[in-house]
């Protein structure tokens, strides 16, 4: 077995162990919630007899370890329980909502790449001059702005004052624009900063001196060499961001009424819908952990120097 495969396998094992820890923690957290799950199912008007019956059904009277075992078994078979509030399987709800989160995440990442990388490249190529300084100030400003506030401002200006975009929801493809931009804005600022730093260093390296000595035009040096050489840290960041986005961006989804995992988990929280909330947490964790691993693997592939 090659060292590389061995490494990937060991990382996957690590991932499974971490997931296991996440599941356990999530399980334990449900006991910290001061809400009786039986009460959530039965409702405020339920009688004590009904409560006891529900408790039996849900197995809430069993010892913790048994409940834990049952829980793990369920998770392994992708049975994430039954939503209290919506009275249907959690996996069904998540299955409906997840695509929206995926689309939003993809849009945000596309924005990060489409804006962050070129801005960073150009800033490095024109280091010290106007574009560089303006983009630096701009990025710092953008990073400091709270995401939900930016979302609200964009909604107000571009959907309300001038009705260019829809006021939230998912009615049309145009509805993706504002939430994706809002979600990806801070990431785009970070991406442009990191890209600028890496590209700046690279442009001053012996490699570029050699490329110029070969007679290569600045444009080709930028597009063909600099992007590749400077992208390593950026790709890692993007993968991690993607994992985070796929876990559900609660605030942004709320602002734009975007029915993804983030909005779902927020609603679940408010309704004390523990199974649904746990389901969202589990799904989110899986994505985040898997994409972190993916980020490392990409890094290994893209930069031939990074070896085990």
């Amino acid at each position: 077995m090659s060292p590389r495969i061995r490494y990937v396998l060991s990382r996957i094992v690590g991932l499974l162990l971490t997931l296991f820890a996440v599941f356990t923690l999530t399980f334990l957290l449900t006991f910290a919630v001061p809400q009786d799950p039986a009460r959530s199912v039965v409702g405020p008007k339920g009688t004590a007899a009904q409560l006891e019956q529900v408790r039996e059904e849900l197995g809430l009277n069993d010892p913790i370890l048994i409940q834990y075992g049952r829980y793990l078994g369920n998770v392994a078979t992708a049975d994430l329980g039954y939503s209290y509030a919506q009275r249907r399987p959690v996996v069904q709800i998540i299955g409906e909502r997840l695509p929206y989160t995926v689309v939003l995440a993809a849009g945000a990442i596309a924005f990060q790449i489409g804006v962050g990388i070129p801005v960073g490249l150009v800033a490095a190529a024109r280091a010290g001059r106007t574009f560089d300084r303006v983009s630096l100030a701009g990025s710092l400003l953008v990073i400091s702005l709270p995401g939900f506030w930016v979302g609200l401002v964009l909604l107000f200006l571009l959907a309300y004052t001038w009705p260019i975009f829809p006021l939230g929801g998912t009615g049309s493809p145009a509805a993706l624009v504002l939430p994706a931009v809002t979600l990806g804005l801070a990431g785009a600022a970070w991406t442009s900063r990191v890209m600028r730093t890496e590209a700046y260093e690279f442009l001053r390296s012996d490699v570029v001196r050699g490329l110029r000595a070969k007679g290569m035009s600045p444009r080709r040096i930028l597009l063909q060499h600099t992007v590749r050489a400077a992208s390593g840290p950026v790709l890692t960041m993007l993968a991690i961001d993607l994992g985070y986005f796929l876990g559900g961006a609660v605030l942004i989804e709320s602002v734009f009424s975007w029915p993804g995992i983030g909005l779902t988990s927020f609603q679940a929280l408010r309704q004390n819908d523990i199974p649904l909330l746990m389901g969202c947490v589990i799904v989110g964790s899986v994505f985040i952990l898997a994409l972190n691993l993916f980020a490392d693997l990409i890094r290994m592939k893209v930069d031939p120097r990074v070896s085990i």
Binding site: D206, R209, H225, R305
Partner: protein, 324 residues
């Protein structure tokens, strides 16, 4: 090249890092440009390629390669000249080659100026690798620089420089980052390539030891100026500048029969560009310095078949002895 100056800053704060350098090289000849760190030799090479950037500025009275007047070139024209007429090999191939492209593709990139398509460029690249002595080049072309040994890497860098068939190759300390045994292989390789292709070589180094057997001409730089230059066969046996003499004398003797002796050193260190004394820059360290030397900087003049900038050039061999 005549009157090359590379300066930093402007107006009264301007400093000449290279202070009036003339170089001539006939086609197919090999010149060794020797000097300590800070002597300006690398900057001279950079200026030869037109790569001097802000905040440094370079200007020359004459800069010509064959028929091409390099002073009149636009940036686009310079780009066509670089690689095609003059190519460079840098000091450390590990940092000079791109880590994310294979050796073959980097050489092919240089070859593309002269090839019709990618496939042909790749074939050319493999051929160049063979020419520089890389074993199994078709396979090795897919390797990345960090997978190759130092010597092979530098061969790749040389192959890259050769790919566009330049008339002049500038090698900026190409052996400094290599093991001693590999050094001589690379020097032999450069010599062979130069002879086979009629390609001129400017070999920049701080190590005089590589000069015999390789370079036709020798130019010694000190504090931004050339202090002695001429045929290696004339300068090395009978140096006429005290600095050249001291450099030669400080080379460990290669003759195993020579008595073990302390290597002579030159006390002091070269002046920084801002603190050059009036008069001869070497005078503070020179065993033969006179009052005249500290007052007036000697100009290069022809003495005994080479150019030398020393007021006492005629007397140096008697006073200091011949080097060998």
């Amino acid at each position: 090249m005549r009157g090359l100056r590379v300066s930093l800053g402007s107006g009264s704060a301007a400093v000449n890092l290279v202070d009036g350098v003339d170089l001539d090289l006939a086609p197919g000849r090999r010149l060794a440009l020797v000097g300590e760190s800070g002597s300006g030799k690398s900057l001279t090479a950079t200026a030869l390629m037109g790569l001097v950037d802000d905040p440094l500025r370079s200007k020359a009275d004459v800069l010509r390669l064959g028929d091409v007047d390099l002073l009149r070139l636009s940036p686009a024209q310079w780009r066509r000249v670089r690689g095609a007429l003059v190519a460079m090999v840098q000091q450390d191939p590990l940092t000079a080659l791109s880590p994310v492209f294979s050796a073959g593709s980097q050489i092919a990139e240089a070859a593309r100026a002269r090839s019709r398509n990618r496939k042909e460029a790749w074939t050319q690249a493999v051929e160049r690798m063979r020419e520089v002595g890389i074993p199994d080049p078709a396979v090795r072309a897919h390797d990345f620089p960090h997978q190759l040994s130092g010597g092979l890497r530098q061969r790749v860098a040389i192959a890259m420089a050769l790919a566009s068939e330049p008339s002049l190759m500038i090698a900026d300390e190409p052996t400094t980052a290599l093991d001693v045994t590999v050094q001589s292989q690379i020097i032999e390789l450069l010599k062979t390539l130069s002879e086979q292709r009629g390609m001129g070589v400017v070999f920049i180094t701080h190590d005089l030891g590589i000069v015999p057997g390789f370079a036709h001409e020798l130019a010694v730089m000190y504090a931004g100026r050339i202090v002695e230059s001429g045929p290696a066969g004339s300068v090395i046996p009978v140096p006429r500048h005290p600095y050249t003499f001291a450099l030669i004398a400080s080379q460990p003797g290669l003759d195993p029969r020579s008595p073990k002796r302390r290597l002579p050193t030159i006390p002091g260190s070269p002046p920084g560009a801002r603190s050059r004394p009036p008069g001869c820059a070497f005078a503070p360290r020179c065993p033969l310095a006179l009052d005249l030397c500290t007052q007036s900087a000697p100009e290069l003049r022809i003495v005994d078949g080479r150019a030398v900038a020393c007021h006492r050039a005629d007397e140096v061999p008697e006073l200091l002895g011949a080097a060998r």
